[in-house]
């Protein structure tokens, strides 16, 4: 059964919410709307509660999700989302408090923020943390703005940010958004940042570098400390993209490698649900050099152990007058903080270390189980971190990474990350995460092996895959050429 749109089944006069009949007349009923009363129809269809539940339940069943199977998206870290965290986030003292309540009525909430901040600082070996960024990309912007503020504070305007060509698209976009010119750093044939090329480019115009470590080829940058030292020596700062922190949490602290700022995607490393595209949360840990520039608001514990909210009003009391400003209206993603903290407390320091170890073990297991049928361009470089990178080398003429990925859907799996990183042709980046069992990996490996063999032997049916999904391949070109971005009643067209 195809599920119609709410606009096709709902009615303006139907509602799934009952309101008391308003008292007619009465002193309070006088409208004070300055003559702006909305008179024309809005065009919002309503459904009764049974119809609503059914509509969304049916829609949901057209989605793939972690709860249904392995999600091998490299660099996206789709891991299990514990249900305890959902329960915790809904406790009334967290879910039902207003951001502007008097601080004495929200001390417990502030303690959550502060406790989480300290976990993040301890796990990364950094000095401070900006909690308010709303997502990873927002955190990147926050980190870059800290760098910019620190440079301006010393009267040292610089205009270039260096970004490796393997970086996530958000890195250059962020740097540009913050007003920087972006320049590429090349990669070595082993998939690492070319240290010498980087050193050669450093100079008084370079504000900093944005490095992803582990990088998007799934490899740890062994020269990280040398990179940091060189950048610092040249007067710049080191931004580390924390997207892949899951691979190293508890095993190595970015602060020990000279990083100045790093955002942490709470959903990747600390299991807040992805939700079909958000909401995210991107706290940014900061080195001693950058911490004074972190944005408002944030939390701080005083000598008596009381946690305070530091805002414009009281920044001076907390010696934080150099804050570069404010990134968002309120205090950040509380609903994600409670989940992430519950996750950290559940795992503890020992469990988080195990997370990294199992994530890396699972990825290497996938790499070594498939390198005989799929080309692993950096397989010879040694172990990978939490994701295994393959290329389309050896595929039959006319078959692409996309075809293989779509065929994987018919095997019951979400495709892996495709065509990223850009440095590898037809890249396929597979990240199983630590929450997959060996049995689940073995089944996935078998499926991927089978489609890989079909891709190499030239099985043309791959080109029309998927065949068993709720939809066949969708016409994305038409969607972009003649965009239909809202429903229009066909009877009215």
């Amino acid at each position: 059964l195809e599920e119609p749109l709410i606009f096709e089944i709902g009615h303006a006069e139907t509602t799934g919410v009952d309101f008391p009949t308003p008292l007619p007349g009465g002193e309070g009923a006088k409208a004070r709307l300055a003559g702006m009363e909305r008179t024309d129809p809005i065009g919002l269809p309503g459904l009764s509660e049974p119809e609503t539940i059914r509509h969304y339940t049916r829609l949901s069943r057209q989605n793939y999700a972690i709860d249904l199977g392995l999600f091998p998206l490299g660099s996206c870290t789709m891991k299990h989302n514990p249900r305890l965290n959902e329960k915790v986030a809904r406790m009334p003292g967290f879910a039902d408090v207003h951001p502007l309540q008097p601080v004495d009525t929200v001390r417990g909430a502030l303690e959550v923020v502060n406790e989480l901040a300290h976990w993040l600082i301890d796990l990364t070996g950094m000095h401070g943390v900006a909690m308010s960024p709303k997502a990873g990309a927002h955190g990147e912007l926050c980190g870059i703005l800290c760098i910019r503020a620190a440079l301006e504070a010393r009267g040292d305007a610089r205009e270039v940010i260096l970004v490796p060509e393997s970086a996530h698209g958000t890195n250059p976009a962020t740097a540009a958004f913050a007003g920087y010119k972006v320049e590429d750093i090349p990669a070595t044939p082993e998939g690492r940042v070319d240290l010498e090329a980087l050193k050669a480019r450093l100079g008084p115009d370079v504000a900093g570098v944005m490095i992803t470590n582990p990088n998007t080829c799934g490899l740890f940058e062994p020269d990280m400390k040398a990179i940091s030292d060189a950048v610092h020596e040249a007067g710049g700062f080191v931004y580390c993209d924390g997207a892949n922190f899951n691979a190293i949490v508890g095993k190595v602290r970015p602060g020990d490698l000279g990083v100045d700022a790093m955002h942490i995607n709470l959903h990747k490393t600390f299991s807040t649900p992805h939700g079909g595209g958000g909401p995210g949360s991107g706290p940014v840990v900061l080195s001693e050099a950058l911490a004074p520039y972190g944005p408002l608001p944030f939390t701080a514990r005083d000598g008596d152990g009381v946690v305070h909210l530091v805002e414009e009003e009281n920044a001076a009391e907390f010696d934080h007058t150099r804050a570069f400003g404010r990134m968002t209206a309120f205090h950040g993603q509380m609903g994600m903080f409670t989940r992430a903290l519950a996750y950290m407390l559940s795992h503890g320091a020992d469990g988080l270390k195990q997370v990294a170890e199992d994530a890396v073990l699972n990825a290497n297991y996938v790499l070594r189980s498939l390198e005989d049928v799929l080309d692993a361009p950096f397989g010879h470089s040694g172990p990978c971190m939490h994701e295994a990178l393959f290329s389309d080398k050896g595929f039959a003429e006319g078959l692409s990474t996309l075809d293989l990925a779509k065929a994987l859907i018919d095997e019951g799996y979400h495709p892996m990350t495709m065509y990223f990183p850009l440095v590898v042709h037809g890249a396929m980046l597979v990240e199983p995460t630590e929450t997959e069992s060996k049995a689940a990996l073995d089944q996935f490996i078998m499926a991927l092996r089978s489609v890989a063999e079909r891709a190499k032997s030239g099985d043309e049916s791959l080109k029309t895959a998927p065949h068993y999904a709720p939809r066949r391949r969708l016409d994305e070109t038409q969607a972009a050429r003649k965009p239909i971005l809202a429903w229009n009643d066909p009877d009215m067209v």
Partner: protein, 455 residues
Amino acid sequence: MRYLPLTDTDRSDMLEKVGAPDIDALFSDVPEEARLSGPIEGLPMHASEMAVEKHMRRLSKKNLAASDAAFFLGAGAYKHHIPASVDHIIQRGEFLTAYTPYQPEIAQGTLQMLFEFQTQVARLYGCAVANASMYDGSTACWEAVAMAGRVARGRKRKVVLSGALHPHYAEVVRTMAKFTEDEIADAPPSLAPAPDDDGLIARIDENTSCVVVQYPDILGRLPDLARIAEAAHEKGALLIAVNTEPVALGAIKSPGELGADIVVGEGQSIGVGLQFGGPYLGLFAVRDPKHVRMMPGRLCGETVDAEGKRGFVLTLSTREQHIRREKATSNICTNSGLCALAFSVHMTLLGEKGLRQMAMENHRLACLAADRLARVPGVTLLNDSFFNEFTIRLGTDARTIVRALADKGVLAGVSLGRLFPDNPELADGLLVAVTETTSEEDIETLASALEGELA
């Protein structure tokens, strides 16, 4: 470890398969001096679900939940009743644990929902096209300013902010503008019964890329958007309307209808809840379809599949960072997906009839509250017009009163002193929000408490 399926047997079998003597061999790229040998010190070890739940519950109970108090806070975040079915739907694993719908064949659930959401938002805002949501209202507001700059192709560098724009929103715009070098023209708000539309219009000039006006404004008043739009358009500037209470749009005309070019706002009132400030839901829409390709954020569009069946995809991604990198319209790479779902489910339950009833119930109770509070000796009602939030003046620093009432379990509102710490002349103002969750007893409780405090 309950979230980790590998057994020790699995681990040693797998190490053997990958040819590593032990797990540390897989971390050989990490310089040995930086590699940690044991669990990080100073942090606790793993804990049972029961222990974690207990700890978090203890922290939760140290807060005063809005439902346990007579509650009147607003200023950009409103307490509304959310039907239980909304939470049921957003907890479906297929929505909760799905990825961004880049693989449309197995993500039609999220995609169709987003298409419906976009349509709902566009209609609510009186616009042609809405995107699939942003982080929150304040960042959407900044994105709108940045977009206006793109529309002006960088030839206009002045951004005119209404003085009655939410101060945190204004601060976000100011923070970002420091780096884009836009000139921000704003003015302090004044405690007048109506917004200073004239003053705002006077600040618009030929170098103005956009005018940003909140509707209803931070003090609850209704600016004359149509007039401002006309003035802005005359100078070639865009009007950005900011709405922080979508329920209001069930009662008052939409910004698009009144001529706003970009409408942004906070969607938290519908489906999302208070949550101490986040995650919230940024709404973003444009009145004129020709501006679509300048928009930030994700867009979901209709198309067909290989068999000709209707389907939905994320589209126009050439605007986005993962394709355009440093040339993208924004660095944003998420939307507030699950909050958008909550909004859309709640809005579907409401429908036009429910939304209008909800709006009228909010307004009715707000009128009741305004009149009752105005009778408290020492209190004056500021607003000529309002929807569900208004400003009263107490004749004394409202921050002190708010804190004193909180000790008695009454959350009286947001003091203007907290919002505008640098403007002492606003310090006696208190912003009071009233919704359908406010009972007449709550209003009486607040009025009596104020009487006691001001006596």
